[in-house]
Structure formats: structure tokens, C-alpha cells
């Protein structure tokens, strides 16, 4: 079953960040002295860079949050709508990379569900929308569509 929930983030400090990159955010901000990143973040950033998606960590990771559920829990991403505005295929490409990344990790009889948090910051208004996805890798194309719709609201 695919579940997508959308929330506006009012209190954020992403406005000063680079518009041309995907930013990987730490998890559980504020609960630990050093904010940990999702344990999947290190491998995932390697895949994104290999696929020529400009990506950076918000700050260099020092610790990871290893969650022992059966799902693939991706790192929280911050994506700027300018990436989509300059390449209308950006979200389809990003989702395809996520799908292939997950499928490369597991044997075919064990492809797990995916949990993802993607924050989209609109370039003009600086508004940030959080999109939370829980579902199959096949269902990810619905997520791409939803991310496009959020960015299109500003056009």
C-alpha cells in the first residue's frame, strides 16, 4: 500500500542554502549532541554522485541512525524547486535512481518497502513542503508526480 502525506514546514532555516544541489539532512535534529544521518545516507550519496546528481550533506556526518526495520529507510532530502525548473525530468530521474539503488541492494525476492522524507523548497517563496512516502519501489513514480505538482504550484 502506498501512503503519501504532505506537510508545510513553517519553522525552517534552509533559506540560505545552495539552490543547485540536493542536500541530505540529518535525522532527529536536536535530540543528540551530534545529529545522526540515516544509516543509508552514506551509500545513497555515492549513488547520487555517480549518477551526476549534485548532492551534499548539510554538514559532514559523524554518526548514523541505524534503524532495524525491514524497510529501506532513506535519508531525509532537501530538494530545491530550481532543480526541477531547469530540468523538468529531474524528479523522475531522482526517483528512478532511488528505485535502482534499492533494487541493487536486495535480492529480487526481498525488495522491501521504502520510507522516504523529501523536503521541497520553492525557489521564490522559500516555502518548504515535506513529502513523506511509505510504499513499494513501483509506487515511487506517484511520488515523482506529487513532487512535480508541489513545484508547479509556484509557476
Amino acid at each position: 500500500m502506498t501512503n503519501i502525506s504532505i506537510t508545510e514546514i513553517v519553522d525552517h532555516n534552509f533559506s540560505d542554502l545552495n539552490y543547485d544541489k540536493v542536500i541530505i539532512l540529518p535525522e532527529r535534529k536536536g535530540t543528540h549532541v551530534i545529529s545522526p544521518y540515516a544509516s543509508t545516507a552514506l551509500s545513497f550519496i555515492k549513488t547520487l554522485k555517480k549518477e551526476n546528481i549534485p548532492t551534499e550533506f548539510l554538514e559532514m556526518p559523524e554518526t548514523l541512525l541505524e534503524q532495524r526495520g525491514v524497510e529501506w529507510i532513506g535519508p531525509t532530502l532537501l530538494v530545491f524547486s530550481s532543480l526541477y525548473n531547469s530540468n523538468p525530468d529531474f524528479f523522475n530521474l531522482l526517483i528512478e535512481i532511488i528505485k535502482n539503488h534499492v533494487m541493487s541492494i536486495y535480492p529480487s525476492h526481498q525488495i522491501p518497502e521504502v520510507k522516504l522524507n523529501i523536503n521541497v523548497q520553492k525557489t521564490k517563496s522559500k516555502k518548504v513542503t515535506n513529502v513523506n512516502y511509505e510504499g513499494t519501489v513501483e509506487g515511487l513514480k506517484v511520488l515523482a508526480k506529487k513532487l512535480e505538482e508541489i513545484c508547479d504550484e509556484e509557476k
Partner: protein, 254 residues
């Protein structure tokens, strides 16, 4: 002194014979003497196939290296099943359960490598392949020998980044991706240090099925061992349970 050479086809043929022999004995009623001998034979063959794999890696023979990793992991899976049998007979039930989950995980890697090899040669594998038959047998052994576990522990841990099992560099500094296969080598994040426990949850589908509850209250309300049904030495209140929350061990693959 003349050295005898062995071809890849001969190695493959020996592997098939060894698996067939082992599977024919892979039942709980097999005599302990035979199980002990089988464990020895499998152990030495795991080392042998691992050394064949490193020869293939040294010679840049990627498909052969992957095939040999498949063979090594399949033998490790079967070895773990025989170890499960012998551990149950020694009343080491939790260790036996852990060994059974090792069997699944080694086999899942064997299946993954087999899929890569078959994709390379353009022949995708299906459910009728021998590796899936071994998986079905392990599932039957689980159902026949162990109690069913409806819930498991799932812990979220704060840990250090660790190193790469392939190149031994800090994991953030190399290009290897966790759980991917690189010419006969399986990438793991190793030497991780646990710094803190974020939370522990009770889940139906954990990442690690080793993390079971090991106590249960019987119909009389007495806390018993979930495997042996023997009362625990130290009694527990109705809302208290024992269990494994985290298993630190890693599969021995590379």
C-alpha cells in the same frame, strides 16, 4: 613437482555434487556423527571455495569470482543449517535460532549473486532454481523445529560511520555501496561502534529476525523459556519479558 590444474567447470561440478550430498542429509533425524562430519566437510570446502574466489579476483575474472562467491555463500548457508541441528541437540536453542537466520542470510546473498551472474549471461533465474529449493527447505526446517515468533525486537542505534569491508577505508571516503557485490566481494560497513540506543520497538517485520523474545508466560502464568518451555531460573512479572534486542555479529563473507 607437477601441479594438477582444476578448471572452473570441474569446480562447479564438485560444488553441485557437494550440495546434493549435503541436502540429502539435511534433516533433523540425521545421526549426530553424520552431522558432525558434514559440518567438517562443509567448513573445509567453504575455505576452499573462498580461496578459489580470491584466485579469480586476482586474475580479474569477475564472472567466475561472483560464481565462486555464490558457491561459498550457498555452502555457508547449508553449513549454518547443520550447525542449527547440532546446537539444538546441545540445548543451545537461541544460538541455533541465530544460526538458522545466518542460513537465510547467506542464502539471500547467494541468490543475489546468482541473479547478477545470470543477468550477465542473459538468463534470468526463476523460482525453480536450486537456490530457491534450498530456501524452501530452510523455511520448512524453521516451521518444524522452532516456535513461531509473532513479534520481534527492533532497535534504532546511533553508531559511528565504520569502514568498508572491501577497501578497508573509512566508509564515507570510498565508492563502494553497502550490500552491493564487487567482483566476488560483498560490501559491508564494518567496525561500527554503537554510541547510543535511540529506541527499541516491538515489530512484526524486523530487519534482523535473530532479535526474538526468549521468554513467555505459560497458561499458569509462569515465565518459561520460549524454546525449551522450562521455567526460568529467575521468575518474571506478567509484564516482563526477556529477549535479544541487538545482535552484533556479522556474516563472514569476504
Amino acid at each position: 613437482m607437477k601441479k594438477n590444474k582444476i578448471t572452473f567447470e570441474q569446480i562447479d561440478s564438485l560444488f553441485v555434487s557437494l550440495v546434493e550430498d549435503s541436502i540429502s542429509e539435511m534433516q533433523f533425524t540425521t545421526a549426530e556423527k553424520i552431522i558432525t562430519e558434514r559440518i567438517k566437510v562443509l567448513r573445509s570446502n567453504i575455505d576452499l571455495y573462498r580461496s578459489f574466489k580470491f584466485i579469480a579476483i586476482e586474475n580479474n575474472l569477475e564472472v567466475q569470482a561472483n560464481s565462486l562467491l555464490h558457491m561459498q555463500c550457498t555452502l555457508q548457508s547449508i553449513h549454518s543449517v547443520f550447525l542449527t541441528f547440532t546446537l539444538i541437540r546441545q540445548n543451545l536453542n537461541l544460538k541455533a535460532w541465530i544460526s538458522l537466520i545466518d542460513a537465510y542470510e547467506y542464502l539471500d546473498i547467494a541468490i543475489k549473486v546468482k541473479e547478477i551472474v545470470h543477468t550477465h549471461i542473459g538468463l534470468p533465474i526463476d523460482d525453480s532454481n536450486g537456490v530457491f529449493e534450498i530456501r524452501r527447505r530452510i523455511l520448512n526446517i524453521e516451521k518444524g523445529l522452532f516456535p513461531s515468533h509473532k513479534v520481534y525486537n527492533s532497535s534504532a542505534l546511533i553508531e559511528t560511520l565504520g569502514k568498508c569491508s572491501i577497501c578497508k577505508n573509512n566508509f564515507q571516503d570510498c565508492e563502494h555501496i553497502e550490500s552491493n557485490i564487487y567482483s566476488g566481494l560483498y560490501c559491508q560497513r564494518i567496525e561500527k561502534e554503537i554510541l547510543d540506543v535511540d529506541h527499541i520497538a516491538m515489530v512484526e517485520n524486523p530487519k534482523d529476525r535473530r532479535c526474538v523474545y526468549t521468554s513467555q508466560h505459560n497458561l499458569k502464568g509462569i515465565a518459561v523459556d520460549i524454546f525449551s518451555r522450562e521455567p526460568l531460573e529467575q521468575s518474571l512479572n506478567n509484564n516482563e519479558f526477556r529477549g535479544l534486542v541487538y545482535y552484533k555479529g556479522q556474516l563472514d563473507i569476504n
